[in-house]
Every structure is written in C-alpha cells, then in structure tokens.
Symmetry: C2
Subunit: 395 residues, 2 copies
C-alpha cells in the first residue's frame, strides 16, 4: 500500500496515567471514551464499530479478552467490537484496524480505545512469576525486556562512541518534559547524576532509564477524511500507518548477522507509514515525535531507525538538544513512557492523542509551536513488533 490513508481523527481523550487503585478497568474505559466522544461533538450511539486494545489481561485484572469489555462500561451494544493485542504495538494496531474498516466502508464512525490496568494484581501474586515461567524459554534465558535492550545499549556504546551519559540524558530530557504533563505518572525532573546513581537494572540501564508500570486508557474517534465536517470538527489526519513483525523471540540472538544497533521492525514500520504519507526526508518534514522509550536506550536507537539522523548520529541529537522541547525536532514532549508510564494496550493510543493535541495547538505549556506533522512509534516483543503512525493537521 503506498496511497495516503485519508482518515481523520475528530475526537481524542485520555485518563490520567498512574497508579489508579481507585478506578476500575471499566472506569478507565468510560472516562477515556467519554472525553473523546465529547471532544468529537458526537453521541456514544454514533459509534458504528470499535477496536479495543488490551495487551495483558492475564497479568492485570483479567479484563480485555474480548470486545465485550469495551461494550459493557460504555453501554454500547449491537455493533462490531474487536479486541486486538500485539504487545507494545497493540494500541497502534487498534487504530490501524479501525482505519482499514473505515476505508473499506464497513463503518462510517469508528472508535479505537487502549486500556491497561497493571497495578492491581490478582489475588495470586504468583501470576506474574507463572507468566514468566510459562510464556517462553526466552525469559528463562534471562532475556527480560531490560536485559535485551541492555545488549543493544552496550553495542551502540561500543560501535558509535555513545556514552552512558548520552543514554541517561534521554531520561533527564523526558522527565523534564513530564513535569509539563498533568496526565503523566511521574512528574519529577531529575539530574544526570540521579539517573546514573539510581539502582542498576541491566548494565548500563538503571531504574531511571526504565519506564514505570502504570494504569491508564486513551481513545480516539475516527472518520474517513472525506466525511469531515470542518465547521463542526477539529480534525487531525492520519496519512500513514505502518506495522511490522520483523523477528521472533529468539531470532536476533541466533542471527549471526544481527548487529544489535537497530530494530528492523521499526525500520519496516516507518518505511510502510512514510510510503503512504509521502514522507521522504523525515527530519525536514516532521515537527514532533513520540517514540517508545520503555528504556531510554530505545529512544536513542529509534532516532536512527526512524531516519531522523544517520546511523551513529543519534548521540549528536541528544548532545545538541535537538529533541528537547524548543529544539529542531522535539521527541517525547509528553514525558514519554519514562514519565507517562506504560499501560501497554493504551500507550500507542496515548501517543496519538498527544501528537494530535499539538497539531491542534492544544498542548498548553509543552506545545510544540507551529507543529503541522508528527509521528508516533511503538516497539515491543521486545524488539520484534513495531508501529509508526503519521499524523498531519492538513489533508
């Protein structure tokens, strides 16, 4: 597919992200959807189809295994609702399948909603341990998310002269951005020294290089671009959506040609999305970016995989503050996953809400002035599945 997506987002909404012990899964669905519906200026019964993204029912509150868990809190029945899950790309994939349904003419008004409640554990605390034991030998070999991404961190330090400080400065930047976002889980600025001195998780990644475990929900309302009523709506357009699965669990570790300096999944997803959106020089055409900084190193690697700079030059972007608010191409002005936290099924949708709010000029004190085009990026699996969405205030 190389044609433009031609989909409009006419409503956005999200809950606060954080430790939301006083709100159930259903509460989060209702709050995010109600805000998006209100923002769109439509009624709940105008929704003709919906896609629900929850990645991990089994390690949270056992909700989100079917579309029913969207219908029930919204009292929204007699329509098709699909639950999608694709690890960290789940939210973007809900948006992608909704966009396909709109383009196919299956529906005229679609909802994509991501929600995850990870802080409430089930009575059996052993469920996480059980999941880790059962899910795949991958974990049994020590390849946790942090462990995997640490291998990449060590390689990029060795090959490209990246320093621990460069990686930690991603965390400093995003925590500063997070202080400007009242929906973020953590709103605490930190210093380089604090990041480096925080407890080690997987060398060189410390606790402060790692995103927190978080509850939250986000929602978007979508139309075909041709159906936008410009006197009524404040549309943001989706020009491109890319998704790619590039490896299995073990593949990178058994592929003797893999250099551990890039994620092919991100490169593939960007290529797919850019091709649809007609983007050829991302650094010149894109005004802001939300990337999947589950660990600070992932943001650094992603500058290169998204084509924002050449291989080996990501360190110069962070050293030159190009990706800080006010810089050439601000990245994660929301605070990123490092500040917002990572309710897995919600994160991809949260990023689209963030970028859309900038394109509409609604982002308050963290507004990227004059932003017209932005992208969102997710990667999970870890490193296997990636998504890229291109948003544009113009059609």
């Amino acid at each position: 597919m190389s044609k433009k997506r031609d989909i409009a987002i006419i409503g956005i909404g999200m809950t606060k992200f954080g430790e939301l012990f006083n709100q159930s899964y259903d509460d989060l669905v209702r709050d995010a959807a109600t805000l998006a519906i209100k923002d769109a200026g439509i009624a709940m019964e105008d929704i003709q189809a919906a896609w629900l993204s929850t990645a991990f029912p089994e390690i949270g509150v056992f909700k989100g295994r079917s579309g029913m868990d969207l219908c029930e809190p919204l009292n929204l029945y007699d329509i098709p609702v699909t639950r999608v899950s694709n690890f960290c790309a789940s939210g973007a994939d809900a948006i992608r399948n909704a966009a396909n349904a709109l383009a196919a003419g299956e529906c005229d008004v679609a909802m994509a909603l991501g929600v995850e409640k990870l802080r409430d554990r089930t009575p059996q605390d052993s469920i996480v341990k059980m999941m880790v034991e059962l899910t795949h030998p991958f974990y049994q070999k020590g390849f946790t998310a942090a462990g995997t991404f640490a291998v990449y961190a060590n390689r990029i330090m060795h090959e490209y002269g990246v320093t621990k400080e460069d990686i930690a400065n991603i965390s400093v930047k995003n925590h500063y951005h997070g202080t400007l976002n009242d929906k973020a889980h953590h709103r605490i600025a930190c210093t380089l020294e604090q990041v480096l001195a925080s407890p080690m998780v997987a060398d060189p990644l410390t606790v402060m290089d790692s995103c927190p475990t978080t509850d939250g929900a986000a929602c978007v309302i979508m139309l075909r671009a041709e159906d936008v009523n410009k006197t009524k709506h404040r549309p943001v357009y989706i020009d491109g959506i890319g998704l790619s699965i590039a490896t299995g669990w073990d593949l990178p570790f058994f592929d003797t040609k893999h250099d551990f300096l890039s994620f092919k999944a991100t490169q593939n997803a960007a290529k797919m999305a850019y091709s649809q959106a007609g983007i050829t020089k991302p650094i010149d055409e894109i005004d802001l970016v939300e990337v999947h900084d589950c660990f600070s190193i992932v943001e650094l690697l992603t500058y290169e995989d998204l084509g924002l700079c050449k291989p080996g030059e990501a360190k110069d972007m962070i050293r030159g503050k190009a990706t800080q608010l006010g810089g050439q191409i601000p990245v994660n002005v929301s605070g990123g996953l490092l500040s917002c936290g990572h309710p897995v099924g919600a994160t991809g949708v949260r990023m689209v809400v963030e970028v859309a709010s900038h394109l509409r000029g609604d982002a308050g004190e963290r507004q990227v002035i004059g932003a017209k085009k932005g992208i969102t990026h997710n990667i999970g699996g870890p490193g296997a599945i990636a998504s890229v969405i291109v948003l544009n205030i113009e059609n």
Copy 2:
C-alpha cells in the same frame, strides 16, 4: 455497510481436530498454513499481511498473545500481523479484519489463521480454576456456558413445546455427520437414547449435548475478488461478514424484557451479513450452514435467529430432518462443534474451510450436492458476541 464484501478465498487448510498432544501450537500453525498456501498455489512469501486468532492463551499453552506466534512458526517476517480475540467469534473476526484490510487496499494477499491448543494444560493445573475465579462474578454465580444455555433450553421447551428429544436429536444428527469427517475430533455415531442417558451437565443438557475441548488450527488465504485469476485459482467468494456484541456478561439476566428464546447478537450479525450479501429469504437462498453448536440447544435456537424458520418452528426442522445431510438445508454436515470439537480461536475459520470445500465440490462423502451458497455462524461470550459469514461460489 450494505455493499457486497467482494473478497475471494483462494486457499483453505486445516489440521485434524482432536487431542493433539504430539503437536505443538507452532506445529498446528505450520500445518494449517502450509495446506492453505499449497491449496492457493502461492508461496508463503506472497502473504502481505495476516490475522491470527487465538482466544485463550492463558488456559492453554500461553501462545497467541501477539502476531509473533504466527510469524515464528511460518518464518514469515517483515509484514503486519495482528492477533485478534473475541471469544468464540475470534476466528470469524480474524477473517473480517483481513477482509477490511484487503478492501482498504492495505494489502493484496491476506492470511487469516485460527489456532487453539486447549488439551495441554500448564504445569499449574489450578490455572483454569484461577481463571474461573478471577474472570468475572458471572461464573461465580454459576453461569458457566452450560448453565447459561440450559436456561435457554428450558425456556424454549416451555414456550414452544420443544422436547428434550428434539434437543438431543441435534446431537444425534451432528454425531452422524461427524462420522463422515476425517478431521473431526469425535467420529462416533450415537443414538437418541445414548444422548439422553449420558451424564447430566446442566438440565436438560447432557455430556453428549456438549462439545469437547479440542486442539486444532485452520487457515484461509484471501484476495480482493477483482484480483482472482480464474485460470489459476478455485475461488469462493465472501459476500457478507457480520459481527455484533449485543449484551454484557450480566445483561440478559438483569433485563426483565429478555425472553431467553433468542440471541440478539446472532440476529444482528445475520442482518449485517445478509444486508451486504443481498440475502432476503435465507431458507430459499442458502444451501448449507455451519452453526455454533457448542451445545445442541444453541443450534436449535440459531435456526430461528438466522431466519431459517419462524420463531417456534425450529423443532419442526429437526423433526422433519430438514437440516440433516440430504435435507432441505443441511446444518453442520462437518459434525459441528459436537463432533469436530472447539479449539476456540480456530472454530470460525474451520467452518469457513468446511463451507468453502462444499461450494468447490470437494467435500467427499458428506458433500452437499450442488451447494452454491453457504453461511457460517459463531456465538460466544456466552450469548453476547456473534458472527455470520456468507460464502458464495459465484461472484
């Protein structure tokens, strides 16, 4: 959406359904996909996008939580793969989202694959108990699947003069059909007396009114109808796909107007699919049907919900053998879920494979002679989510 879907199925494949202890989840994916690819006369690398349906990773082998679990066994990378789950309608929903992507032009060749491995339990046998405890108060009130559908059975017996024998004769019919299907889990004919005398599960439903727990996988390869090369392919066309969620977990039991004689989800899904396919008199236009006989009573109710007869007349269809092989409108000539078993994520795709094989004239000794149009039906949740797909040998 009221226009025809205009999607073609050019390849079908499925594994044997049963207790497949000697085959892993990956083996099942590989076997079903390889058969479908071979049937389509294409290569694995021709697949441009895929949808994976697995409903219950957490009660089986913890696989199918993302698209990666399709990519890895097929060595099929660098494409988008979405995992969908929607309880018993999961397989149909994978086909639906693939059809949307084709119609949207996102891809030109799509795979929809359903797989479930339920017989291998995890080391902790308590996982099922845990799920039952955790998933919803619904189960804590005794509303298991059998318990819920038994309420419907009692109501239809009371209101419409349906007898226990009518319900049991569904099981007799489908077990007979199952003897003709070498892919079925159970291939044992049974008598009315055997069904009635088998152990009671939830009065009036006995063990032989209930489908077994089963492993299996099924796969279809899809194109836009306009892309079919008739000298190369043996296409079956998808004219309509309906999906609807009509209730929540508790809703039917708190809705004082609900009569427990029909499933609104099925009625909605049929209306959506028939509208797309231009079907106005299903009994005259449809030649064979695969319905979701997880319990025999569900097939009986579904005759009415699909519009094959008027309310109260389903018993006449079974008494007159209209739905037996050779009758006016054969239902579940595969043996249904009662014989094939119910690997949940695979069942919807298995039904499409079954109907397509009849439309192509490939169904061997259970062939419905001259079949040109057929439908598949799923319902789960239980009773909340339904899907209907209309297949046609002509375009």
